[in-house]
């Protein structure tokens, strides 16, 4: 029975997408999408509960036993990621109604929600599957739909950003495909559990090494890991607001999940530790945290600023992977969850400003904080969480990350984390300064607070930021559980 639930999590949005495309009105498609997201959030919650209590769920698609058929295999790691994706979708969609109606022409809305559902289904399909080629197929579903969604942004740069992302994303996916092919040529299987069984015998072969490298590079591109992040700032800046919120909170998380899964569950531990993978992640993480944070400081468009900050945050997650210790990966998984909360809240709040004045350029938003106190409050709390102030979710991730670094006596990394946080103080401070301490232009004195339908979802995430900053039992518990099933440490 639980298997069927895990399946429905992917199938429900997949079936709803073509229906949404042929509905005559945008609002009908929206209602359908909202309903689907709510159902999926419930299903994902039940699935997470079931996995934590009863252990791994395995489901044979088509009734064929793996490795001959495709298997859905859910443990604490992907159950948690699926929960993030479905939860964020369910929170984003109420927000989407007004925001999308403002930014997308009415006649395109049914297709827009159809593409949204496809992207959603694709991301869920990636997390649920236990078959590495099936993962590729769902990766492409989510990628293609996100290229289309990004291109719908209002400025013409949205088109070029979508094109750039399409090229980079397809190169990444093709690299992944090459890697899978090389691994297949030495193991004869595509099922991840089966690969984990068969790879130790062949792990000395050059083919396997190359295949591993290609899979990693492919997903590093999708993850926007420094220095392969070039597509991300443009895509996040010019996409319609709702899409930025959704992708920032989910797409990179799913890519990170795949990296964790391949690194720790599929390939044998001694194989990975014999390669320089850990060091590369550390280097890329450190460089990403510092340079992207500095870039963020110099941005004049708030959306773009937050996009660079996302690159920096991905750097923190890379650091945790780089340690390859239980504590490090725990920190990565906690941050994966918390970052979805904070970036979701921040992009939503910025979206509320865009909803009111049509821009989030620093010159245009001066003094708006006083006109829009609730939106401003959301930015402040989200920003504090991003910096990592105690009492917010961001603090928990940074705390575990610092612990992991100290355990390895990697003092440079500790310093990088602290510098990164200081830089975050600067760029968040810059937004707050412009929003609150500068005088509003006369045209902006009439700007009203954002509508309830935008504020409510934003504040759900803001409160989640505080809740998970105070009550760490849930996140840390699940993360530790996830690290166990990933098999980060031997035994």
């Amino acid at each position: 029975m639980q298997g069927h639930l895990s399946l429905l999590l992917v199938i429900v949005p997949l079936i709803a997408a073509p229906v949404a495309a042929i509905l005559p009105r945008g609002r009908w498609s929206w209602a359908l999408a909202l309903m689907v997201a709510a159902i999926c959030a419930i299903l994902a919650g039940v699935q997470l509960w079931a996995v934590v209590h009863d252990g791994v769920i395995s489901y044979e698609l088509g009734g064929w036993a793996p490795p001959w058929g495709i298997e859905y295999r859910i443990d604490a790691v992907n159950a948690m990621v699926a929960m993030i994706v479905a939860g964020i979708a369910a929170i984003t969609l109420p927000y989407a109604l007004l925001s999308a109606e403002k930014e997308i022409p009415e006649h395109q809305l049914p297709l827009f929600y159809s593409a949204f559902l496809l992207c959603f289904a694709g991301l869920l399909g990636i997390t649920q599957t236990g078959d590495i080629f099936n993962l590729f197929v769902f990766l492409e579903i989510s990628s293609l739909s996100s290229y289309a969604l990004i291109s719908l942004g209002q400025k013409r740069q949205a088109l070029t950003s979508a094109y750039q992302y399409l090229i980079m994303g397809t190169l990444g996916a093709t690299f992944f495909l090459i890697g899978v092919g090389l691994i297949y040529s030495q193991t004869g299987t595509l099922n991840m559990m089966d690969l984990a069984l068969r790879l130790p015998e062949v792990s000395g072969l050059k083919t396997v090494h190359t295949g591993f490298a290609f899979i990693m590079i492919g997903f590093a591109l999708k993850l926007a890991l420094f220095p392969l992040h070039l597509w991300l700032p443009n895509a996040y800046t010019y996409a319609p607001t709702v899409i930025t919120v959704f992708l920032a909170a989910t797409a990179t998380k799913v890519a990170l999940y795949v990296i964790l899964r391949v690194l720790f569950s599929v390939f044998p531990l001694d194989f990975v530790s014999a390669t320089p993978t850990g060091d590369l992640f550390l280097l890329s993480g450190m460089a990403g945290v510092i340079s992207a944070s500095i870039y963020a400081i110099y941005q004049v468009d708030v959306k773009r600023l937050l996009a660079y900050s996302s690159v920096a945050q991905i750097g923190y997650m890379a650091l945790g992977i780089g340690f390859a210790s239980s504590l490090g990966v725990t920190a990565t998984i906690i941050h994966l969850f918390n970052h979805a909360l904070m970036k979701g809240a921040l992009f939503m709040a910025v979206g509320a400003i865009i909803y009111r004045i049509g821009s989030c350029h620093m010159d245009n938003i001066q003094g708006l904080g006083r006109q829009m106190p609730w939106t401003f409050g959301a930015i402040v709390i989200g920003g504090l969480s991003l910096i990592g102030v105690p009492g917010t979710a961001g603090f928990i991730s940074k705390w575990y990350l610092v612990l992991a670094a100290m355990e390895q006596q990697a003092w440079i990394v500790v310093a990088v984390i602290l510098i990164g946080s200081l830089l975050a103080v600067v760029y968040i401070g810059k937004i707050i300064e412009v929003l609150y301490f500068r005088a509003a232009t006369e045209t902006h004195l009439a700007v009203k607070e954002a509508p309830m339908l935008l504020l409510a979802p934003t504040w759900v995430l803001v409160i989640a930021n505080i809740y998970f900053g105070l009550n760490t039992e849930l996140t840390v518990g699940i993360a530790q559980r996830a690290v166990q099933v990933l098999g980060v440490t031997p035994g």
């Binding site: 997949l14 490795p67 030495q186």
Partner: protein, 191 residues
């Protein structure tokens, strides 16, 4: 022996076509060459006993993709690639050489071409060949695997096609040019 001969010749043609595509600047000619490239690879697939793949590649690569490319240059009216100023060849060349070297390194341990004892041929695949007729009643093993054993992948594939349809409709479909262009590019002028 004749197999090897055809194989070598076809691959050589493929290489020549690919290099010409890189070097040429006339987009129309490039697209035609791409059609040829696609047909040659379809022929390669036939030589390597992948008839279904060859059929699809000929219909899709040489057919649909080429037609779409031609339609695009007809719409954009740009038939010539301009010489690039900002693109220096050295960085891309280095990236490509490193990537290619890594791949060649990876093939050093791969079993030789056509080796029936290769690991890829040993584990999952024989099951399909031995059991597909008994279990699905379909003699074309590719169809059996595609539609049944890995039927969920194929569902995903149909969704990918559907997604492309949605995406193209969103970008250039539905209304005529006037209403479409107005809603999107209009905002740019406000700035």
């Amino acid at each position: 022996m004749i197999d090897v001969f055809i194989d070598v010749i076809l691959l050589a043609f493929l290489a020549i076509t690919a290099v010409s595509i890189v070097r040429m600047t006339n987009l129309f000619a490039i697209i035609m060459l791409f059609g040829i490239f696609s047909f040659l690879s379809a022929a390669m697939f036939v030589v390597m006993d992948a008839v279904d793949v060859a059929f699809t590649e000929a219909a899709v690569g040489a057919g649909i993709s080429t037609v779409l490319m031609l339609a695009t240059i007809a719409l954009t009216r740009d038939h010539h690639e301009k010489a690039s100023v900002s693109h220096r060849p050295w960085l891309p060349l280095t990236v490509v050489i490193v990537t290619g070297a890594a791949l060649v390194y990876g093939t050093l341990d791969i079993p030789g071409f056509g080796d029936p004892e290769a690991p890829a041929q040993m584990h999952v695949a024989p099951y399909y060949i031995e059991r597909s007729v008994a279990e699905t009643g379909v003699p074309n093993v590719v169809t059996a695997v595609l539609a049944s054993y890995r039927g969920f992948d194929t569902l995903g594939e149909v969704i990918v096609v559907f997604t492309a349809g949605i995406a193209v409709m969103l970008l250039i479909g539905g209304r005529r040019r006037k209403s479409n262009a107005g809603s999107n590019e209009g905002d740019e002028n406000d700035k």
